[in-house]
């Protein structure tokens, strides 16, 4: 088992390296470098720029050096000192801006994953056990329908319905009273009252796919001889279902975590923009629109790294539950 985990960890290193290169390319894509943008900005505000400052910043980010050297400086700063550079638009180090938001993103994604799994498994089981029943057809139709609705459209519609029919304003993760307050029981309740809507909205798209996978897996298992044997032995239908076929059908579901996670994170970003949640989404969009490239690049890098770590964890989980994989 340890061997397997070590092997997976080693495999992750080139992936992480490649992701950092992609993030760096995105930083480099807009024409001009950050300092040109910054100069233009300062000049437009009538501020004079000291030549010494510029030279110091050029030196710090290695802007006069070849690209591979700039990459080296950037990644070395991140790895050794946790220095992601400076957000030029907000005039603060990137690290000050991102951790809080990244935390909320992670929390929201995890809650969504829990929600999706908790809902998808029972519905999938129901669909499979009652194949071709009305509930099965309804689940299948809803699955296709929610796949066709883009996340942001779902978010907008949900907000419209909440405000037009229930007279509730939605958006954000806290009421204004609690935004700056420290964590308390009241804040937690307030958080729960806000967070369920984005969780449902983000989850619905992935839910559909998971229900279908669970249904297909379980249908495969249900027709196997061991189920008939157990039934012949007089086992109760429910006990039989939970004990054998469901457990086997769950295994492939764990492996879907590898692509559900990127999907949930993508959904989280776009839904957060629409619902103005204090997560990475709105920050990333604003950074991209104002060409605040250090901030944008760092966010893309960290989001991708988190996803890769998540996938790694799901691989390890899969190996834990399924011996066939670790003894391959």
């Amino acid at each position: 088992m340890l061997r397997y985990i070590l092997k997976r960890l080693l495999f992750a290193i080139p992936t992480l390296f490649a992701v950092s290169i992609i993030a760096f390319i995105i930083i480099q894509l807009p024409p001009g470098d950050y300092l040109t943008t910054l100069m233009a900005d300062w000049a437009s505000q009538g501020g004079a720029v000291e030549a010494g400052t510029v030279a110091a910043m050029r030196e710090r980010y290695g802007l006069d050096q070849p690209l591979y050297f700039q990459y080296y400086k950037w990644i070395w700063g991140i790895l050794t000192a946790g220095d992601f550079g400076i957000s030029f638009e907000l005039g603060k180090p990137v690290t000050e801006l991102i951790w809080n938001r990244l935390g909320f993103s992670l929390l929201l994604s995890l809650l969504t994953l829990c929600f999706v799994w908790a809902i998808a498994i029972p519905i999938g089981i129901l669909s499979a056990v009652r194949q071709y029943s009305i509930s099965d057809y309804t689940a299948t139709f809803l699955a296709f329908f929610f796949l066709a609705v883009p996340d942001f459209l779902m978010a907008l519609s949900a907000m419209y319905v909440m405000s037009a029919w229930f007279g509730q304003s939605v958006g954000g993760l806290f009421s204004p009273d609690y935004v700056d307050a420290g964590w308390s029981f009241g804040k937690l309740v307030d958080f729960a009252r806000h967070v369920w809507l984005p969780v449902v909205v983000i989850g619905l798209g992935s839910l559909a796919a998971l229900v279908r996978i669970m249904r297909a897996n379980l249908l495969d298992e249900l027709s196997k001889p061991y189920v008939t044997t157990a039934r012949a032995k007089g086992m109760s239908e429910l006990e039989l279902l939970i004990r054998y076929p469901v457990r086997l059908a769950l295994n492939p579901l764990i492996s879907t975590l590898g692509w559900i996670l990127p999907a949930v994170i993508s959904g989280e970003i776009i839904v957060s923009v629409v619902m103005s949640l204090p997560t990475t989404g709105p920050l990333l969009l604003r950074a991209l629109l104002t060409q605040d490239m250090y901030l944008a690049g760092s966010l893309i890098l960290l989001i991708s790294v988190l996803t890769i770590i998540g996938t790694l964890i799901s691989d390890i989980l899969l190996a834990l539950t399924d011996p066939r994989i670790r003894f391959q």
């Binding site: 329908f145 609705v149 942001f152 405000s163 958006g171 629109l289």
Partner: protein
């Protein structure tokens, strides 16, 4: 949205044909026979063909110029089109009467049933136009027969500049639906080439390509697309932006196709008919294009169909965020930019729901169609 638009395959319905017919039926005939059994997919095919026709004949179908503004009718609500008037067939809409709500200081529109405005089919266009930019035309599918000042025809409402939402959605279909097709074409080229190399040659090329695909698929798509799309300079001409956006959204689509092609190559390259062709002295390229590609063509078509909706959704998402296509280009995503803030939506819900319905119907039908095609792509499976 990472590859989530495809659902796991389902066991398709089998079909009954006299044994003799089935034995001699060609690949495409088997494909069609099995596809026909999938009712929803068949219905979806009709819907899709209809939507693409609407896109092609958008100039003819849209009653007014999608960019024509009208300050008198900002945020005008949808006018219900009724076909009968006083018991006889006279299609009409009711004239909109504007009142000022003194409380909210907003203009409100009320339909006035005493003033029907007659609507006709094949009416003279407000201005002559060129269908598809080629054929000069002076007729529209429908429109006001005798437009007077104060008359309007907004069957799906108007936006904040008084532009007709229906005409805009019909024109938006041109961009939104074609992005799917162009993107899929790019994916096809990339996917077949790279997947083919990977599957046919194997070895380290295969290993490198598979690792690269895994890498691309492990990155959440939205941030990646956002980063790439945001780098497109604002000053670029619309056509170039369009192609770059298409390229960006097809960046992910090709990976699933490449995997499919590779899998097929791996399973087919040692089949008897390939070995026979090789022993006959056929070149490797010849084998690929004369024997291998035709044998998994139906799979490619199914995978491609399933890739179109994810590209439509990607374009819509990017344009909605304001980093994809920009006005004056009209696409469904650009139309949804108008619905970005919830206050606008609360005042004029048709800004959100009309383009949304267009997106959902097309994506839903394409998914059903792709599902049916995928089931049909393996005609031999359920026969044996």
């Amino acid at each position: 949205m990472t590859d989530i638009t495809s659902l796991p395959p389902e066991t398709g319905p089998s079909f009954n044909l006299p044994g003799k017919d089935i034995a001699v039926a060609g690949q495409w005939r088997l494909f069609w026979l099995k596809f026909k059994k999938h009712r929803i997919a068949l219905a979806s095919l009709v819907v899709i063909v209809f939507m693409y026709l609407v896109a092609v004949f958008a100039d003819f179908i849209a009653p007014v110029d999608p960019n024509a503004t009208n300050a008198r009718f900002t945020y005008a609500p949808p006018q219900g089109l009724s076909l009968l008037l006083d018991g006889s067939f006279r299609p009409h809409v009711n004239q909109l009467k504007m009142t000022l709500n003194t409380e909210s200081m907003r203009r409100e529109f009320v339909a006035d049933p005493t003033k029907p405005v007659s609507v006709g089919f094949f009416v003279k266009a407000p201005q002559p136009y060129h269908l598809l930019g080629l054929i000069p035309m002076e007729t529209k599918l429908f429109g006001l027969t005798n437009p007077q000042v104060g008359d309007s025809l907004y069957i799906f409402g108007a936006d904040r500049l008084g532009r007709d939402i229906f005409s805009r959605v019909v024109h938006g279909a041109q961009i939104s639906l074609s992005i799917g097709l162009v993107g899929v074409f790019m994916s096809l080229i990339l996917g077949v080439t790279i997947g083919g190399v990977s599957g046919f040659f194997g070895g380290w090329a295969d290993l490198a390509i598979q690792r690269f695909i895994e890498l691309l698929r492990s990155i959440p798509t939205i941030p990646l697309w956002m980063g790439l799309a945001a780098a497109i300079p604002v000053g670029w001409p619309p056509l170039r932006t369009y192609f770059v956006i298409t390229l960006i959204v097809s960046l992910i689509g090709w990976t699933s196709l490449a995997r499919e092609v590779r899998g097929k190559f791996l399973s087919l390259r040692n089949e008897d008919f390939v070995i026979a062709a090789r022993l006959d002295g056929m070149s490797e390229i010849g084998i690929i294009f004369n024997h291998l590609v035709p044998s998994f063509m139906s799979h490619i078509i199914a995978t491609l169909t399933l890739a179109i909706p994810s590209m439509i959704l990607a374009e819509t998402a990017l344009s909605f965020l304001g980093i994809g296509l920009q006005p004056p280009i009209i696409s469904w995503g650009v139309l949804l930019q108008e619905a970005q803030n919830i206050r606008a939506v609360a005042q004029a819900p048709w800004l959100l729901f009309t383009p949304a319905a267009a997106i959902i119907i097309s994506v839903l039908s394409l998914n059903f169609l792709g599902d049916g095609l995928r089931d049909a792509a393996d005609p031999y499976e359920s026969v044996s």
